[in-house]
Amino acid sequence: MENQPAIKSYVFEKGYKDLWNTIQDSWKANLKEAKQHFGQSETTVTGAFHLGVGISIIVFGSIFFGMISLLHVSLMLIFASIIYLAFSIIWGADKLYRSINKIFTACPHPGCYHKFDIPIYHCPNCNSPHTRLHPGPYGILSRTCKCGANLPQTFFNGRKKLAASCPNSTCGLPIDTKESRPIVIPIIGAPSVGKTCFATSLVYYMKEELGPTEETQFEFTSQVSSLTYEHNLASFKNGGAPLKTVEAHPSAINIFLQLKHQKIRRILYLFDPAGEAYLDTSNTQTHRFYDYFHGAFFLIDPFSIPAFYHEYAEKITINDVKPSAEHLEDVYDRVIINLEKNYGIKPDQKIKAPLAIVFTKVDVADLEDKFGETAGRIIQESDPSKFKSLDDGINEACRNFLMDYEMAPILNKFESKFKNFRFFSVSSKGANSVRIKAPTKWLLEQIDASFKKIDQD
């Protein structure tokens, strides 16, 4: 085990050294005294007395020394066994707690994204890094840093309140997860499909509509996430849109989210990489969050579908709509190749993580009639027993849209690769978004069933 900047528990090191030294010193003291008496033995009464004393020390002293040593060793072993048992139980409980509640650490920083059991915790007094702050050789419930500060070591006595950093040696940046349960969601899509608009609108929904309720607590984990969001939202308020994302390796937008009935706080990781990252598999192989993601948004710009674009090319203003030039099947294929090549997904294996497939730009032209509310209502009213809600209708409308515009192959790919997916259509405009709630709520509920209680109509 890696050495820690802390004092080892007595029964893990010093106790045994003290035991051995005590036995050694005691034996040597007995021998020394016996030799002194033997040195004074002569053929006189006094000399005979010293001889007798020396013999007594050797014979009876050794017997008593043996008994005391055995007693000391036994007491030490009994005490150590109790300590080992206690720390094993607490260590096991800590690990079990994290396992049951699906708590782990994911680094949100660009280019890292490593996953760990627990982060490096830092001493609040001297900032020393403690890489294994859990019950063990340095203590059961707490440990003493070499500077003298007392550090909690378990989930129930305050470990999460300590400053933490990423254990990856090439990263080492601060992490603010506070041992919350991560929900990791990448937003996938080609350039100009509207990922950043969608991410900003999604956060707006959670912050402004979900957050203020008594049922939900919403909090950005860091100023970086908060400032990024505010900056993007301001673009909408000014009548524009957020600037194009340029980072192929983005920071996660981190949000603490906790419903009233949830015992463990959730931490949402929203990854919004630049669309250019999906133009080449070499860019996405460093997106390690695909190793542990819980669900994903796959955004589709309807104008990236050739047959549809040709039909609407003269009805739209290209500069306003900014259609995505990348073919959506290519983007999808690259993501799947990356998952199969680098993250252990077998070619014939279906992915369990739910996928919310979101058609963007539904506010353009008459797209609401194609796969939006109008189309959804028509389908719902045609068979209310099968399509129980507007969302069911929109889901079917999106499927029909893909079929109608020669995109049956991508539909087949979704069905062959994902166990759980659903279609949505949105307009992402910050505070003026349309139907952002549906894909957000659906995906969160699929990932974490406790979210089914939120915002119940």
Partner: protein, 64 residues
Amino acid sequence: MSNNNREGGDGGGAIFFLLLIIAAIIAVILLTLSIGAIYGGAKAIYNYAIAFNNNVALEKPGAG
């Protein structure tokens, strides 16, 4: 009827005296062994206590 009590002169007394001497010697030996055991044992306990006190001390923070 024999009168063996008066024959052999003072031989019985000598044997009794010898027995006393042997008993005394055994008593001295036992006393010496006891004293030796108590002294040797006490010395061993005392030396162990001193060694325990010298060695068993918790490391103080910042002491390196």
